[in-house]
Symmetry: C2
Subunit: 198 residues, 2 copies
DNA sequence: CCGGGAATTCATCACTTGCAGAATTCAGGG
DNA sequence: CCCTGAATTCTGCAAGTGATGAATTCCCGG
C-alpha cells in the first residue's frame, strides 16, 4: 500500500489540527465535535489527532485557552479615567467577538461546552474569576470586588449567549454602539455604584 | 420467557418516563441524556420510550415546555405599581429557580441544550420573545419594547448561567435579596429608563 | 550511507447510540 | 368467552464513538 508513511516536505499538521479543532469545538461544542470530524476538516488521519494531543480532553484544553493580556486591557479601559468605564468594557467585549475571527471560536467553544462539560465550565469560571475579570474589577472597586466581578460577568455571559450563541433578535443584529449605550451604564453601576439599595 | 408482555394493574409508566426525561435533560442536556439512561431511571425498557414519545426530539419537545401563566406573572409584578418592578422581576425569577423543583429541570434542560441543539435554542428564543418576556415588557414600556425585552433577557440568562448552570461563586450561593438589590435597578433601567445615553 | 526517531496511515477493538420489529401478556367490550 | 388493541420486553441492527497498535515512509545526525 503506497499511501501510508511520512509525507515529504514540511508539514504544519499539528497547527492545522489545532485550528480545525478550535473551529469544530466553537461550532459544535465539546461533545458535538468528534475527533473524526476534526481530522477530516484538517485533511488528516484521525489517529494523528491522538498522536499529537493525546486524549480528546487534552486536545480541548490545549486549544481553548484565551490569549488575553489582562494588564493591557486594564490600561485600555482605565486610561481615560473611571467615568465611562462600563461603556468601554462593553465596547471592548463586543469588538473581541465581532472583529477577532481567531478568538471567537475559542469563546463560543468554551460557552457552548460549559453547560455540559466540567472542564469547560472550569475554564469559564477562571475567565470570570481570579484569572480574568476579577483582576480588572479589583483594580476599580475595593468594595466587594468578587460580587461586582460576577455581576458584570453574568451580564457579559448573557450578552454573549443572546447575541452570538442562541441568536436572539434584535440583540443579534443590534448596532454595537446602541448596546454600549444601553448596557454600559448598568455595567458601570455594577463596577462603581452602590449595590445595597436602588 | 416469563418477563415480557403487559403488566397487571394500572401503570403510570408514561408519566414516569416524562419526569425521568425532564430530570435527565436538566442534568445532562439533550445530547448527554441518552434514551437508555432515561428508561433506566424510570425503571422501564428503552423501547417503551419510543413507544410513547416516538423520536428523541419529540420526547424533548413534549417534556420541555414551561407552564408559565404570563397574565398572572404580569399582574403579580405590576400590581404594586411600576416602581420596584425590576426587583420584583428578579425576586420572582430567583424564586422559580430556587423553590420550584418541578420547573427547574425544565429550565436547566433548555439552557443546557440551547447552546447546541437548534430546537432548544428555539424554545429559549420563544421564552424571551413573543411567547414570554416580550409580553411582560410590552405592557410596561411602549418605547422599543423588543430591545428592552432582550436586554432584560440577556441579564436573566447570564444570571441563570452563572448561578445555576456553571456555578460561579459568589453568585451561586449569594443571598437572593442581595441579588435583588444589586440586579433589580439595572433591570428596571432596561425596562423603563432611557436607553440612549448614560 | 545508515540507523533511530518522527510522521502518517490502516485496521480494528470495545462500546454506545437511536431506533425498529417480533413476540408475549394483559385489559375490556361484545 | 373470545378477540381486538394496548402495554411490555427481547433482540438486534446500522452507524458512530474514542482510542490503540502495527506497519510504512520520510527526515536528519552521525
Amino acid at each position: 500500500m503506497a499511501h501510508s508513511g511520512r509525507r515529504p516536505g514540511e508539514s504544519r499538521t499539528r497547527e492545522r489540527i489545532a485550528t480545525s479543532a478550535q473551529e469544530a469545538f466553537g461550532e459544535l461544542g465539546f461533545d458535538g465535535a468528534t475527533i473524526r470530524l476534526i481530522a477530516a476538516r484538517a485533511g488528516v488521519d484521525p489517529a494523528l489527532v491522538h498522536h499529537y494531543f493525546g486524549t480528546k480532553q487534552r486536545l480541548f484544553l490545549s486549544v481553548m485557552n484565551l490569549p488575553f493580556d489582562v494588564a493591557a486591557v486594564k490600561a485600555q479601559l482605565l486610561g481615560p479615567g473611571l467615568p465611562g468605564v462600563g461603556g468601554r468594557l462593553i465596547r471592548y467585549f463586543l469588538s473581541v467577538w465581532d472583529e477577532q475571527p481567531s478568538v471567537r471560536p475559542i469563546l463560543t467553544g468554551i460557552v457552548r461546552s460549559a453547560t455540559t462539560d466540567p472542564d469547560a465550565a472550569s475554564l469559564l469560571r477562571d475567565f470570570l474569576g481570579r484569572q480574568g475579570l476579577f483582576q480588572l474589577v479589583g483594580a476599580i472597586a475595593p468594595d466587594r470586588p468578587e460580587l461586582r466581578a460576577v455581576l458584570v460577568g453574568s451580564q457579559l455571559i448573557g450578552l454573549a449567549m443572546g447575541r452570538y450563541i442562541v441568536g436572539i433578535e434584535p440583540l443579534a443584529s443590534a448596532n454595537p454602539e446602541d448596546l454600549v449605550a444601553a448596557i454600559g451604564p448598568p455595567i458601570e453601576r455594577y463596577l462603581t455604584g452602590d449595590l445595597g439599595s436602588g
